[in-house]
Point group: C2
Chain length 449, copies 2
């Protein structure tokens, strides 16, 4: 096998819901009442079908035809054997990657942006507010909102707004309004600006702004690009396609790697393989995170807020504390203090593993991948490449011939400035001091569950 294209007619038509295997999931807790969030609280910002997907234990959800139709613009995505990377590493392993960078926004985010826009639209919602860090999610939702003729406002973390002007251009092209966060449009933003008029913003703060706007405007809903259960559900297309493609190619992975920020990319490829593992197959799924934001590897499994302003529901998850402020690494999409409750639950049960890698390794193996396989990866995606390469090198020592599969979640055409800095020797690794993590973990909310 060199490359397996799935026939468009063989694209999965259902999403797989790993919640069906997790009856012990803790409910989201209302920050206002300290009790489980009521449906009324949720319907202020999410449409009914999304809430059902968020909560339901049913194992499979049909993908609406209209959604399949749009997803098929770029799906199924290819599964490719990285033979030249294997040779460069001199590993006895087989390395495969599932490539999600061919989507309109250039990453896996579009897989959930389309159904989220669709389910809002059929519920009569014509306007969405959201946030974006590096710009991947904002780009994906801009494309999707435009498809269904909806308005979109994106609160973009201010530092990225100015550092990544072309991401803003991309969103504008699809008709979205992009506001640098913190802004004067929300209480959360105004408070942040009052404290620090030169604030660069953060993802947690941008979330606060978008949620506040959605909660306070009847015509506007909120959409999140990661973390939540329905987002992982939508992303399982990645793993479902990969399973079919590995089978067509006559192999099965010993290990599955994916980068993990909020967890949607990792959860998306891993969930179907975790189900295999529960059913007795031997497969290890490894979430890969930056050493500078080591949520799964150094965080605590506890209830915490999803945002800085404590507006979102409190979720049971691995967290570094909601006021943890990671350093400005070149993988903005992985700078989130918490993690998906699903991924966290799987981690806590030992059904998955986690590893952390530094950004020097990210760019080292990201560059090697570009040179051997011809695709410049997004720094976020390069986390999966680095972890896979390091495993392949370990196997070179031991002589193990593993099949390694990773998800290449997006391309890096908008990240060349970061590669420049790496090539010029300006980057360094930055492991967050353990004491700082201990400190921010002291501020977790008290929840009686």
């Amino acid at each position: 096998m060199k490359k397996v294209y799935l026939n468009p007619a063989d694209m999965p038509t259902k999403w797989y819901n790993i919640l069906s295997e997790l009856p012990d999931m803790a409910p989201p807790i209302s920050p206002a009442t300290g009790k489980p969030v009521t449906p009324q609280e949720m319907t202020a910002i999410f449409p009914e079908p999304i809430l059902e997907q968020e909560m339901s234990p049913q194992a499979w959800f049909d993908i609406p035809e209209k959604v399949l139709d749009i997803l098929s613009l770029w799906r199924p995505t290819p599964l490719i054997r990285a033979e030249r990377l294997e040779q460069a590493l001199g590993t006895p392993c087989k390395i495969y990657y599932k490539y999600e960078g061919t989507s309109p926004a250039g990453s896996h985010k579009t897989n959930t942006a389309v159904p989220q826009a669709y389910f809002n639209k059929i519920c009569g919602i014509n306007r969405i507010a959201t946030e974006t860090g590096a710009g991947q999610w904002g780009s994906a939702l801009s494309f999707a909102s435009q498809i269904f003729d909806m308005q979109l406002r994106v609160y973009m973390v201010k530092v990225s707004y100015f550092q990544k002007p072309y991401r803003k251009s991309f969103m504008n092209m699809f008709g979205a309004e992009v506001i640098p966060s913190p802004s004067t449009m929300t209480n959360a933003g105004r408070e942040a600006l009052a404290k620090d008029p030169n604030s660069n913003g953060s993802l947690g703060l941008a979330i606060s702004e978008a949620v506040e706007e959605a909660a306070s405007r009847k015509d506007t809903n909120y959409a999140l690009g990661s973390v939540l259960n329905h987002v992982i559900l939508h992303q399982t297309l990645i793993g479902l396609e990969a399973q079919k493609q590995m089978e067509l190619g006559g192999d099965y992975p010993d290990m599955v790697f994916a980068s993990c920020g909020g967890g949607s990319n990792f959860g998306g490829i891993a969930a179907p393989f975790v189900k295999d593992k529960i059913d007795g197959k031997k497969v290890e799924c490894i979430a890969v995170e930056p050493i500078s934001c080591p949520t799964l590897t150094k965080g605590k499994y506890a209830f915490d807020y999803g945002d800085v302003a404590k507006l979102t529901p409190i979720l049971k998850m691995y967290t570094l504390g909601h006021d943890f402020m990671p350093p400005a690494i070149h993988a903005g999409g992985l700078r989130y203090h918490g993690d998906s409750p699903i991924v966290s639950n799987l981690m806590n049960k030992g059904l998955i593993g986690a590893r952390s890698v530094g950004q020097l390794d990210i760019f080292k193996y990201g560059t090697l991948f570009a040179k051997t396989e011809g695709i410049v990866p997004a720094p976020e995606s390069a986390h999966a490449i680095a972890a896979t390469a390091l495993e392949a090198l370990k196997c070179k020592e031991t002589g193990e011939k593993k099949s390694l599969l990773f998800c290449l979640s997006g391309h890096g055409f908008f990240d060349m400035a970061s590669y420049d800095q790496y090539l010029e020797g300006k980057l360094e690794d930055y492991a967050y001091p353990e004491e700082a993590i201990e400190e921010s973990l002291k501020n977790l909310p008290q929840v009686d569950m």
Copy 2:
């Protein structure tokens, strides 16, 4: 048919040579002697196998296994039915596109960069000099040179060097040395700087610099990304795959559109269809160029230099005059005064047609394509989109149900600044005044053939 992936095993293994149908091709003329270029003159800058491909009338060339191996990193490329674009236009036509943007450099250029690097390498050449305008060709050859462990120097038109820093980063990532042109490294560059120290450069001048360097250094050859016969040969993979895919999809195009600067993209998709036409099939191949650089639609079929400094062989081609200076439109890849001798010959015989479009239409239909089909096109590639859309709209008037195929030669992720300007209403159409063309056509060289 919605999308046809060709099985990797069904990728063509031979290039098609349309020269086999053109026994009347005029030879390249030496600027030094005024006589046909001698093999000795050519071998100073090109390796033997490339020269054979440049001259030979044989219809098919085997693709070396090593080249196939690298091309298969991204080939075969998909052929996609643009149903949502059809709906948006309200046309009775079927619109298909062949997408070349999945290659390492993001365009069709990589198709010829790889074999050019390979054939140089097997002839003992380890260093290449080339030029690049907007950066597509330089990026492609950077990738290819790195694959075969060769050194590369790229003379990049100075205005692009500063306007497109990420293209430079991309080339650096693959180990290429990028020099803004005009430079002080060559006589051609020094002369240009003496005349105008603030010169922005031009493609013709950058060609002069690269050719001068290759001709004066024994260890260095030259490589060109378009115009020449062997480049068109390498690009015929596009048309050969498209033919197979259209057949698998149960259709055949009435018209084939591709943007045309030097002619390699157009020649690559068109050549196999032109052969069909010669064999009696009904198909129209249309080269699409900017109204600001209307080589095929307003130029003259005559002998002319390929570059400003008159260093390259004199070629029989459609030309606007070698000192024609097109305005700075946002499709840098199409700002060449001449055209491929093969494409020119086909045009002169009436075997193909040509149309020109303005940049407002380019961005209008490029944006519509992004919104409907989910791919942001390069401004160059958007010429083909615009011409196809305009034809589809014409058919809406007449009720004709044509099958239209176009080549989407590359993505526009590096061109967002141009889209910004369009969205901000800052662009205008710029048809070059006829008198200026008449003027520059007065300076054609005299050749007795």
